[in-house]
């Protein structure tokens, strides 16, 4: 029997259509996009087309798309690259940012920039009043996630952006949109963002490629120096197949977005209904119930740590996540849980189920059955 994969927030399988385009690059259309001969020019043309696809999806100009090795690099490039200005005094990061934003911000704080962190309000939503209070003339950058990879909350970026414009006139707003792509409309303009980061492997594309997209010409200092590719912003021979894969994955995700959102909502309803009936399981839905990325569902499991549940489920062919995958190898729990008011003990009992448009009702039913079994088994401990 095949496994039920419910860890799509960690990574997703490569889509057939994406793979086909990438294979064409590997087989025939390979080349170095900077080479002067026809193969090289053809490779550059392919790269430009991929760039246009990315740009179009988020309403940006192609010349403002920088291909990176993934969401982590894109976040690092934004945070480091946009704050190398003399008058930069502080940066502000959201309470539930991904590790790449947190760690980079902490490194910058080590270099002398003041780091301010946001909070969640009582409902588990972004505390906008607190954000407003934290902003001032010296704020150089605000990094706020659009969709939490741990809870699925969709944060009110347009309102946050308005506050940033009003209170921190010199600040740039960077939005990590990695978990939002393919589920939410991503318009830089409507979000009010100055930059956003994307990652291919969360939307059926390959691992190892992402993008930082700028809303306009911005003074960005590169992290990686070398031959001057990506307009000098990210040197290194371009990952041609990867870029093609990202462009295709994004294009597909965007064209299917409305349907995907509905489908995920249906599946979530079924999953939720099943989870609610399991004794001891507590759904962790933070923020505005009308603003949830339907594919991500966090639950507090009783009795044993979440990782124990994970292995029990895995043994039954149901694959889920614990906290965030990045934390899965570490002993500490994510600061996002602390921000959500969860104690250490409760934080260790957070299981994350993340759906994709490819999951079926039957799979959801199997997952629920497996959870019921595991609940029963662990209850006897």
């Amino acid at each position: 029997m095949s496994t039920v994969y419910l860890d799509n927030a960690a990574t997703t399988p490569l889509r057939r259509e994406v793979r086909a385009e990438m294979e064409a690059v590997f087989a025939e259309r390979w080349g170095n996009a900077s080479s002067r001969h026809r193969r090289g020019v053809a490779a550059r043309e392919l790269l430009d087309r991929a760039r246009e696809r990315v740009a179009r999806t988020v309403g940006a100009r192609p010349e403002h798309v920088v291909f990176t090795s993934g969401g982590t690099e894109a976040n690092n490039l934004a945070l480091r690259g946009l704050t190398r200005r003399r008058e930069a005094r502080s940066i502000w990061i959201g309470p539930t940012e991904h590790a790449s934003v947190r760690a980079c911000a902490e490194a910058l704080a080590g270099d002398g920039l003041e780091l301010r962190r946001g909070q969640l309000d009582a409902r588990g939503d972004l505390d906008l009043a607190r954000l407003e209070g934290d902003l001032d003339e010296g704020t150089a950058l605000v990094a706020q996630l659009l969709v939490s990879n741990e809870f699925g909350t969709i944060y009110d970026l347009p309102r946050a952006a308005a506050l940033v414009r009003a209170r921190a006139p010199h600040a740039l707003l960077h939005v990590d949109a990695v978990q939002a792509a393919g589920k939410l409309a991503l318009s830089l303009f409507e979000l009010g963002a100055d930059s956003l980061s994307l990652s291919a492997h969360k939307i059926g594309g390959p691992q190892g490629i992402g993008a930082l997209v700028l809303a306009r010409e911005l003074p960005l200092e590169p992290l990686i120096h070398g031959g001057g590719q990506e307009g000098g912003l990210r040197s290194g021979t371009e990952n041609l197949a990867g870029a093609v894969g990202l462009g295709k994955a994004l294009e597909l995700a965007e064209s299917e977005r409305a349907r995907t959102f509905e489908r995920l909502s249906e599946l979530r309803r079924a999953l939720r209904a099943g989870l609610e009936r399991i004794e001891g399981l507590e759904l962790l839905e933070l923020g505005d119930p009308d603003r949830q990325q339907p594919g991500i569902l966090a639950v507090l499991v009783p009795g044993a740590p979440a990782e124990v549940w994970l292995h029990h489920l895995d043994a039954r062919g149901v694959v889920v996540g614990v906290g965030s995958a990045c934390q899965a190898n570490k002993r500490e729990t994510s600061p996002a849980f602390a921000a959500a008011g969860l104690s250490e003990d409760r934080a260790r009992r957070v299981l994350r189920l993340s759906l994709s448009g490819a999951n079926t009702e039957e799979e959801v039913a199997r997952a629920i059955a497996a959870l019921e079994e595991v609940a029963a088994e662990l209850a006897t401990l």
Partner: protein, 402 residues
Amino acid sequence: MKPLASLSAPEMVLVRYGELGLKGKNRGSFEHALIRNMRAAAKPIAEVRVERKRGRMAVFAEARVAEVARRLQDVPGIKSVSPAWGCEAEPEAIAELARQVLHEALRDRPADEETSFRVKTSRADKRFPMTSTELDRYVAERALPGLERMRVDLSQPAMRLEIEVRPERAYVFVQRFPGPGGLPVGTLGRAMCLLSGGIDSPVAAYLAMKRGCQVSYVTFHSYPYIGEASKKKVLDLVRRLSRYQPRSRVFVVPFTEIQTTIRDRAPEPYRTVLYRRFMQRLASRLAHRDHCKALLTGESLGQVASQTLENMTCIEAAAALPVLRPLLTFDKEEAINLAQRIGTYDLSILPEPDCCTVFMPSRPIIHGRVEACEEAEAELGVEALVERALEGTERIDIAGDA
């Protein structure tokens, strides 16, 4: 353009167009062209519906209206755009929305700045319970409280808060963002632009488009003395320029034989002038095929040897059509500034040679004579060279991307 984000999204874009108002009989076809071009420009963002009313247009889209508004700022023929917020066509709702819009629009104003505004209502619905003037006053009274150092000025207001009342809905707008002005592309004929990868010719193309010309392009390619990257650069410039013109046609003319023939059999100082004469001939022939009534170049006076008046005369003598030179009197800096504004500069400065060094004269003639050109050409077999180049010409149709 910054969206007024604390309000919900705008619903409509009010479009003002300039000279069209002067055109009388031609107004219909100009408006038609503008609507077509707006729809094409907005297409990658959203499907739009356009309504014409009293010398202005209202553009509706299901979503991403603010982005559509920004995109329309690049459509020639448009003087300005205003993203508009909607509400029930009822005085209290209108006043409340107007108050929010005005407050939000003034948010970034320096604290001590005094300014003035007036309300201007257009009523398409005569059944509305107030007259336009009554609504102006009603809204102004409710918008003013809470606004410091703000007064109503009916004659020369700094800001105009406009209201459009229609039967089913009312719209409020106050921001005005400039468009390129000019005339809709396609309304004033077709021109053939000689496009190199340099800074000037794309700017010339833009200026012609802005004045309503549909611009086709011809470019000359001497492969294998020049690589494919040069050709790609020119095509990328055409794509970049399609922000302003939805569809474009490019003719790529093989120029190698002509250049090698001139290099081998004509006087060296005259090389560049002779190359350019052939370009004018070829461009004229292609213009004829493509129903263009004029050639278009980025030439300006005096910059390089081939741009002295004498040399320009020699070159132009080979053209069969009028040659338009929008940049004739521009300084280099002016051309660069405009190139930056229209988004072609960063592409133009990519270092791709458009003429191989082996073809360049070491001491180009500064004050050429037409007779000398004709004498040199007599030996070359001009007609046959032109025919062969035309035969090998590639035609590429390019549709715009965002």
